[in-house]
Symmetry: C2
Subunit: 180 residues, 2 copies
């Protein structure tokens, strides 16, 4: 039995569709840094109890020394090199469809995909993403790591919300339409 | 002497950054077709007296049998294969920087770039675009011809306007910031 837990991609990109430069530099995000403005993140994260992300993204977060995620959210790191679990962090190398089905067969809050591009690609390939909240940073990055790598099938979306902010960030929320 | 004529990219793309499928299919645009809604185009085109576009895009427009552009706007088709001018249409194969400088040295309305991706790439490469109005169609196309091909330098943008429409199109207008 499926309940209504949703897998949500929540991520920022440049206008030209990059999440970082080729050397993983994400300093373009500083264009929208503003004290007291978290672009809805803390409200969003309250609706989440599970996080999935790619191993490279996880390593980057560790390297930045960020104390993340707070609370007792479960974190699944997608990897090809299994490692033992560590606290609330599990390393996963099985089928994504199975993983998401398992989540959805249980009661719980929503599931948050935090990237990176490879994880997003795999989730889209298996059509597992239910909602996308995309924040467009007002920078033309020119080159780098694309959020959407291409080579996928078409998906119908419904825009449910758009907000713009003082620093020029535009945040759009889309639902994946499955029954058209 | 420069006046204030601006080169404006005014174009629609899918959420994942495509302007067409690989076979030039632009049927994803039908997701936002609505009688009586032109997404500001007729108002925009009144501010324009010059259009530049790539030869492939021009050929596509001809093939679709569209009577375009109306009025006496001057059209410059960028090509590697010179052809004689035809009415208000000129085929151009020289320097883009020179072409835009010539426009800007004269009085006139704004200049509209209508694509395609190669023309956009060349204009961005020479940093000639002053404004970008990007309309995001609520479709994840999956694959196709990207609006922004990559391999370019970073450009700072300022968001000046964002509008959303009933069919889920989000239209953002950015100014290229040159003096930061």
């Amino acid at each position: 039995m499926q309940n209504d837990r949703k897998l949500i991609l929540y991520i920022a990109m440049s206008l030209d569709g990059y999440i970082a430069k080729h050397d993983d530099d994400i300093s373009f995000l500083s264009a929208v840094e503003q004290e007291g403005e978290d672009y809805g993140y803390s409200k969003f994260i309250e609706t989440i109890d599970t996080v999935i992300l790619g191993r490279k993204t996880y390593d980057k977060i560790l390297a930045m020394g960020i104390d993340w995620p707070d609370g007792d959210r479960k974190v699944y790191v997608l990897t090809r090199t299994p490692k033992p679990d560590s606290g609330n962090i599990q390393f996963y190398f099985g089928s994504l469809t199975d993983l998401i089905s398992t989540f959805k067969s249980k009661e719980g809050k929503n599931i948050y995909c935090d990237g990176g591009a490879e994880t997003v690609h795999q989730l889209l390939q298996e059509d597992l993403i239910d909602e996308l909240t995309i924040s467009i940073v007002p920078v033309f990055l020119g080159d780098g790591i694309r959020l959407f790598k291409g080579g996928l099938q078409e998906l119908k979306l419904q825009l449910v919300n758009v907000k713009s902010f003082e620093k020029g960030l535009v945040q759009m929320r889309y639902i994946r339409m499955r029954n058209l």
